[in-house]
Structure formats: structure tokens, C-alpha cells
């Protein structure tokens, strides 16, 4: 199938006084049209930086692209001029951020914030943009859209604001939506509603989605494929099914053990991932996960494991991947 997005060897580093932070250090993955790809990993592993690098929204300085390609519909986004990039942002690729409380402008009305994208990209009149805004609010399940348009973000609850963000990202019928932890800041019940809404809308409208999360439960239900990130790299990638039932990287395994699962007995013990995430300025030539890994051997310090196929469409970067498994892990 023709790919919508191909990320190849993308590197984004931050040059800070404390050293070079290799926040994203050579990640590669594809997104097919209409597909939902989840990116999971601990806080600080580079999920947001990886996603925002696609839209070139990383502040420079201190951030800098250090190589790679981002092919969107065959065009390398890293080669585009600023003006060409602006045409893609908000029109072909929409973005939803984590914090609905701060991601909307407090002094502009909901209507203004919805219409400006439409007016800018589709070059329609204010009136047509308003009609589109009303349609969009209806689409994301907001009642009385005409009244809402005149309101300001502080009038809305967190869940409502996130619905507005979703409406905004869909405004110009994009091909891809990047959602950076869209539900982390919301109540559990609202989380489910928002995720359901996003799933339905992307299916209906045929929009592809990259959804960033640290909730593996989300992954299982809503994603087609999963990229597991650790210390700026993808360490495992496969279908949601495979990752969930047949993890082949010790980190993925540890992540799975740390969350409750439907398919485990109720009393099963939850184990948080031991140890601290590594300092991204001080990575050596070996596997970054080895200090926390219970499968680690001598060779893990010698070289970085590369991604290798463990099953069809399932890759893992671990020297010991054959020993890793949901049952094997318990005794290892």
C-alpha cells in the first residue's frame, strides 16, 4: 500500500548548556492512509519531540534537526520552505495537544479560533467559515454550536475544550492527525469518550492518526500499530495485537507488567518499571535500557542492538529478544 508518511532515521537534538540532549535519535516508521499508529513510552523518551519534529514545531534554538527524512505524500517536509510548511500545517496535518486548558487561546472566542484555520487555508469568507465551524462542533458532539462559537475557552470544561481541539484539527479535512497525549489531562470517564470520538471520526473520515500515549490500554483498543520508544529510539514496533500478546523487547514487557490487563487474573501483581529513565545527554554505545533490564548480558554494553524482525511486521531491537516473552519473563 502507498504510504502517507514515512519517517526515516529522524534525529532531533537539543543543544543545551547541560550538553546535547538526543531527544530523538534516529527513528523510522511509516503511517499508511487511514491507519492509527500509537507511540508509547515513558515520560521524557522523546515522543512529543518526535511528533512535533514532523510539523517542524521544535523551537530552534535549542532544538535542531540532525538528519533523516520525513516523507509526507512523497515530499520531504525537512526540505520545504517555511511558507510551504505552513500550508501543510493545519491543512494536511492537524495536531491535538495534551493540555486542553492551555492549548486554546484564552482571549479569543471558540468561533474565532475555529474559523481562522478554515479562512486561512481554504480561502473562504468569514460566513462560510462560520458555517464550517458550526458543522465541526456538531461533528465532535458539542450541543448548541451557534452559542458555543461566541463563548471563550474558560466557559468550557476540559473535555469540551479537547473536543474543540479535535474539531480544530479536523477543520480542513487533513490526511493525518497527530494527537499528543490527547486524554492524559482528562478524567477517566471523559478519556474514554474522547478516545471513542477520535476513533470513530478517524474511521469515518479516513484520517490517519499518530497517537502518543503512555497508556498501553489505549494502544490495544484504538491503534492498528504500535511503536515503543525508549531513550529517543524505537525499540519495538508491531501490530497492536502482537505487541500486546507477544512482546519481544524487555522494555515493552516491563511496560505491560506495569498496567492492569483484562486478560490477566484479577489478582495478578502489577510491577512498576524499575529504575530511572536514562539521561539523554549521557548515552553510551551500548543498549540504553540495559541498566534496568533483567535480560541484560555482557554484549548489551558493547553495541546498540538494531531493529530486527521477530515475526512478520513485528520488529524488536534486543540481543536477547528470543528469551523475552510474557511467560519467560517471570522466571528470567
Amino acid at each position: 500500500m502507498e504510504k502517507l508518511l514515512e519517517v526515516k532515521g529522524l534525529k532531533t537534538h537539543f543543544f543545551t548548556s547541560g550538553g546535547v540532549v538526543k531527544a530523538v535519535d534516529g527513528i523510522s516508521y511509516d503511517v499508511a492512509p487511514g491507519e492509527t499508529v500509537a507511540v508509547v513510552g515513558e515520560s521524557g523518551c522523546g515522543k512529543s519531540v518526535g511528533a512535533m519534529s514532523i510539523l517542524r514545531l521544535i523551537p530552534d534554538p535549542p532544538g535542531k534537526n540532525m538528519g533523516g527524512e520525513i516523507l509526507f505524500q512523497g515530499r520531504d517536509l525537512l526540505e520545504l520552505s517555511d511558507a510551504e510548511m505552513r500550508d501543510i500545517r493545519g491543512r494536511d496535518i492537524g495536531m491535538i495537544f495534551q493540555e486542553p486548558m492551555t492549548s486554546l487561546n484564552p482571549v479569543l472566542s471558540i468561533g474565532r479560533q475555529l474559523t481562522e484555520t478554515v479562512e486561512h487555508h481554504l480561502k473562504v469568507s468569514r460566513k462560510q467559515a462560520m458555517e464550517r465551524a458550526i458543522e465541526l462542533l456538531g461533528l465532535v458532539g458539542i450541543s448548541e454550536p451557534e452559542r458555543r462559537l461566541k463563548q471563550y475557552p474558560h466557559h468550557l470544561s476540559g473535555g469540551m475544550r479537547q473536543r474543540v481541539m479535535i474539531a480544530m484539527s479536523l477543520a480542513c479535512e487533513p490526511k493525518l492527525i497527530i494527537a499528543d497525549e490527547p486524554t492524559t489531562a482528562l478524567d477517566v470517564t471523559i478519556q474514554a469518550q474522547i478516545l471513542e470520538l477520535m476513533k470513530n471520526l478517524t474511521r469515518e473520515l479516513g484520517v490517519a492518526m499518530i497517537i502518543i500515549t503512555h497508556n498501553l490500554g489505549v494502544v490495544a483498543r484504538y491503534a492498528d500499530r504500535v511503536n515503543v520508544m525508549y531513550a529517543g529510539r524505537i525499540v519495538e514496533s508491531g501490530t497492536a495485537e502482537e505487541i500486546y500478546h507477544n512482546p519481544k523487547h524487555p522494555y515493552t514487557l516491563a511496560l505491560l507488567r506495569s498496567v492492569p490487563r483484562m486478560d490477566q487474573p484479577r489478582g495478578a501483581k502489577l510491577e512498576p518499571v524499575d529504575g530511572q529513565p536514562p539521561d539523554l545527554t549521557k548515552l553510551d554505545g551500548g543498549c540504553a535500557f540495559r541498566p534496568r533490564c533483567r535480560f541484560a548480558t555482557e554484549s548489551c554494553a558493547q553495541a546498540q542492538p538494531v531493529l530486527e524482525e521477530v515475526a512478520p511486521a513485528h520488529i524488536s531491537a534486543c540481543f536477547e529478544k528470543d528469551r523475552v516473552g510474557l511467560t519467560a519473563g517471570v522466571t528470567a
Binding site: T102, S103, L104, V107
Partner: protein
């Protein structure tokens, strides 16, 4: 919104009363009065009988609370009494100078706004570029230079420049004419003190705009605006500036009120009969009614400016408007 405005208006009353109280009693803490000063010779000797008559005429022999009551009633009925020095109603004397001071304050504030908001914004948008360094240097200089000194420099420059350009030495007119009588004359006189003081105040406001803007540019909603693909110009003007202006409005408001009575030396340099000069004279002459009236008018301007700032705030920020 209407409720908000009414609330603000009502809040003005206790502020004014409190200020009146403080002004009135602080003035009377200083020993001596206008009669002793007027009738006393060089050695400070005076005839007690004469002084008593003088005090009776001016009403300062009455109990303090009675004088205070009269003063407070006067504030709201706009009757500030007669000057203890000249005997004429103080409002007459103040009226002329109020016009002049108000005009300078407005012009200086305009100068401030015209300089501060664009420069502060550019400086923040191009943080750490050469533009930013120039703006920051210029505004540090503005804070360091007293405006009367800048005024002197301006006058000297005008004299020499006109001499060099046209062979005649030109300096701003010395006599004040209201703007509706002779706008050209009026503006060519008052623009220079307005620039001299406006530059200094703009320095503070520029720095404020810059730091406020820098903060806003890091906000999530600015990132959202970028992710929508909007033009940078629109992001700055529509998304960032309105948020960044909130603290700047306060600073400019406070400055405006200060300009009304605080320009004593600058007025001297430009030979202007403004409120500042009158205030200093009335204080040294122990002309209580005059001092009280001027300070009270400055207070009223302050309170009114604050009110306007609050209204502007509500206009800029819907969170205030709808609470």
C-alpha cells in the same frame, strides 16, 4: 460587564475618601501655617493679633474635623475653596495648568505607546538578535537618563539644528496656547516635553512588553496557532499581543497618572506652567487649600486612570469580562 463597571465605580469612593483623609492630615502635621509665613518677617517675628485675624479669615482657626468635613464635601461638589495665598478660587488657577499637564501627559503616553509596543514586540520576536540588543540598549538608556536632561539636550539640538539648516535659531514657543486656539503653536511647544518624558516612560513599557511577550510566545496556545499553519504575523498580532498587553496596560496607566503632577523639573526646563510647578509653590508657601486641591486632583486622575485600566483589561480579557 455592566455589573463589573458599576462595581469598579463604587470602589472608587472609599479610595477617594481614604486619600482625602491622608492628604488633609499629613499636611497639617507640619508645624506653622500660611499666616505665620506671610506675616513673619525675615527674622520670623510676627504680630500674634494679625496672625489671628488672618487665620480667622481663612477659616483655619476652626476645629480640624470641621475643616476636614468641608474639604470632603468640596471634593464631591467640586468646590476646593480659595487659595490661602492669593485668595482666588483654587480651581481657577488649577484649571489653566491642568489643561497643560493633561495634554503633556496624554501626548507623552501616546509617545510611549507608539514606541514601546512595537519595539518591545519586535525585540521579543527577534530575541537575542542585533535588533533586540539595540532595543534593549536604547531602553536602558531611557531609564538612566533623567527626562529634564533629555529635554535640555532636545532644546540645544533644536537651536543648533535650525541654525545649521535654515540659518535661524528656532526654539519652541514659550507662551502656552490651548490646542483649539492654535494647534500648530500648541503642538510645537508641547511635543518636546512630551517626547522627553515619553521616551523615559517608554523605556519601562518597552521592557515590560518585551518580557511579557517572551512569556506569551512560550505559551501552549501560541504553539497551537503555529500548528494551524497561521502566518507568523497573525500569530503575533492576534494570538500573542492581546495576551501580552495585559501587564503593559497597567504600567502605562500608572505612568500616565504620575505624569500629571510629577514633571516639576521638566516643566522648569521647558518653561511650562504645569501642575507640578504649582504644587511645589503651594507646598513651600503652606497654601493648604491649593496643595490639597492639586493632590486631590492627581488622586482623582489616578483613580480614574485605574478605572480605565480595569475597563481595558476587561475588554482584552474575556475571563474578567464574564466573571
Amino acid at each position: 460587564m455592566l455589573q463589573y463597571v458599576l462595581k469598579r465605580l463604587l470602589l472608587m469612593i472609599p479610595t477617594i475618601l481614604g486619600a482625602a483623609f491622608i492628604i488633609f492630615f499629613i499636611l497639617r502635621v507640619v508645624p506653622g501655617d500660611v499666616c505665620e509665613l506671610k506675616l513673619g518677617g525675615d527674622g520670623g517675628h510676627y504680630d500674634p493679633v494679625q496672625v489671628e485675624i488672618c487665620q480667622k479669615n481663612l477659616g483655619i482657626d476652626r476645629p480640624v474635623y470641621e475643616q476636614f468635613g468641608k474639604f470632603v464635601v468640596g471634593i464631591f461638589t467640586f468646590d476646593y475653596g480659595n487659595s490661602m495665598d492669593t485668595g482666588k478660587p483654587v480651581t481657577h488657577e488649577i484649571g489653566l495648568r491642568f489643561q497643560l499637564s493633561l495634554q503633556i501627559a496624554i501626548m507623552a503616553t501616546l509617545v510611549t505607546i507608539i514606541i514601546a509596543i512595537p519595539l518591545g514586540t519586535i525585540s521579543a520576536v527577534y530575541q537575542n538578535s542585533w535588533i533586540d540588543y539595540i532595543v534593549r540598549t536604547v531602553s536602558i538608556a531611557g531609564i538612566a537618563l533623567p527626562s529634564f536632561w533629555l529635554g535640555i539636550l532636545l532644546l540645544l539640538f533644536l537651536l543648533n539644528f535650525s541654525d545649521w539648516m535654515w540659518g535661524i535659531r528656532w526654539s519652541p514657543p514659550l507662551i502656552y496656547k490651548p490646542i483649539w486656539e492654535d494647534p500648530y503653536h500648541n503642538v510645537s511647544q508641547l511635543i518636546w516635553p512630551a517626547v522627553a518624558t515619553g521616551y523615559r516612560y517608554s523605556a519601562v513599557a518597552t521592557r515590560m512588553t518585551r518580557s511579557s511577550m517572551l512569556e506569551v510566545l512560550r505559551e501552549d496556545y501560541v504553539r497551537t496557532a503555529r500548528a494551524k499553519g497561521l502566518l507568523e504575523k497573525l500569530i503575533i498580532n492576534r494570538h500573542a499581543l492581546k495576551n501580552a498587553l495585559l501587564p503593559v496596560v497597567t504600567v502605562i496607566g500608572i505612568e500616565f497618572a504620575f505624569l500629571m503632577g510629577g514633571l516639576v523639573v521638566t516643566e522648569q526646563v521647558f518653561n511650562l506652567n504645569g501642575l507640578g510647578q504649582l504644587l511645589v509653590h503651594s507646598v513651600t508657601g503652606k497654601d493648604y487649600t491649593m496643595t490639597q486641591a492639586i493632590v486631590m486632583i492627581i488622586v482623582l486622575v489616578f483613580v480614574f486612570t485605574n478605572f480605565m485600566v480595569d475597563i481595558l483589561y476587561a475588554w482584552l480579557d474575556p475571563r474578567i469580562r464574564y466573571s
